[in-house]
Symmetry: none
DNA sequence: TCACTGATTAGTACCAGGTGCTAAGATAAG
DNA sequence: CTTATCTTAGCACCTGGTACTAATCAGTGA
């Protein structure tokens, strides 16, 4: 990793990147990494407007904590945009580096599924919802940095069974679609 | 919340609970909350074997950090046990805390899908393989600490198209099954 | 050569939120 | 009264910083 004689701005860009993907480094460690003094690192962070380690860690923790708190939040892959319980829902997923196959920069299939599945499950107004079955089709590959909008709509409801239709699009063109059968479970024991 | 004249053990139980569901409290804040001194809180934490705020927050952050990495970042979800390219493959996934729905301790559906999908894609002898479609069925819920064995088998192969049958079991009983249609992509551009 | 500039480094005082240790009350029970 | 349990207090020390001042070093132009 970065250790050579870098210019100030090169170093700063590297620091920005490295802290972006691993916020756990202390100034000390960065200083050793780039063979500069701790003070220099502090100036760099100040210039880049990056808070201290504890703050960074805390933000990360609060983020995931917030998700956990919001009942179904953690369970959702992507950001919930709209939600009408038992009717329809929309979520947005921006494809980041970790989501793609390293070679092709194409999103892993199961993430599109996960977005759809978690949305389908989240939109059910019930303490617990479980997927029963799903038929899905991948229409076009999705690449890094693209924004996937996933729309879910309840097509049929019979008792505790919900048939949900999912369509995911990027720039208004379909990339993924599927039908999910979801079971709403109340307090009764799961099968 | 708790503020009355509690016995030591009552207070400790409350502290344990409160920190369990909200790890962000400092000793100071807890001391005010229970109207005891900071030192008392420290003793309580020591007795309960609860680390300091920063440590708690850090653990939380590392946890969620690891989770994001592992679910999105890995090429294969689960551990590859056996692999015969273009023929069959087996992977094992042990259900950990991060994989389950917080309330029911049941694995999230898309993780079973992810295990199956990543296995199906991995077993194709090609620089790039993409999922075309999938039909899956969830037969029984899978709980925390259970070990999911996923078996994939190529049923049909026509040119670059592979039909793969997946069966996932826990203790030899089926929990998930599906058919995946996977496309092997060579160097040619993806559609 | 001198002066100036930008980048870096050094040093100081201070902070939160602790640990680890010793010692001193407070209170109830035998 | 003595003893044991619980609680509080005080102190030195720690990490990973902030905020600020001052010194150093290399290169550049005049």
């Amino acid at each position: 990793m970065g250790a050579k004689c870098l210019t100030k701005s090169e170093r700063r860009q590297e620091i920005k990147k490295i802290l972006d993907e691993n916020p756990f480094f202390t100034d000390e460690e960065l200083a050793q990494l780039y063979k500069v003094s701790v003070q220099t690192i502090r100036l760099d962070r100040a210039a880049l407007d990056i808070p201290e380690v504890r703050e960074r860690i805390k933000l990360l923790a609060e983020h995931s904590y917030g998700e956990v708190k919001s009942i179904t939040g953690l369970e959702i892959i992507g950001d919930l945009i709209e939600l009408k319980l038992n009717e329809s829902a929309i979520s947005l997923l921006t494809v980041s580096e970790e989501m793609v196959l390293s070679k092709a920069k194409v999103i892993r299939g199961h993430l599109l599924f996960a977005q759809a599945n978690s949305l389908a499950v989240a939109m059910i107004d019930s303490p617990l919802a479980l997927t029963g079955s799903a038929n899905v089709k991948y229409i076009a590959p999705v690449s890094l940095d693209e924004r996937v909008i996933c729309r879910a709509k309840v097509m049929k409801k019979r008792g505790e069974k919900f048939l949900i239709k999912i369509v995911s699009t990027v720039n208004n063109s379909e990339v993924f679609r599927g039908n999910f059968l979801v079971f709403a479970k109340g307090k009764e024991e799961v099968l």
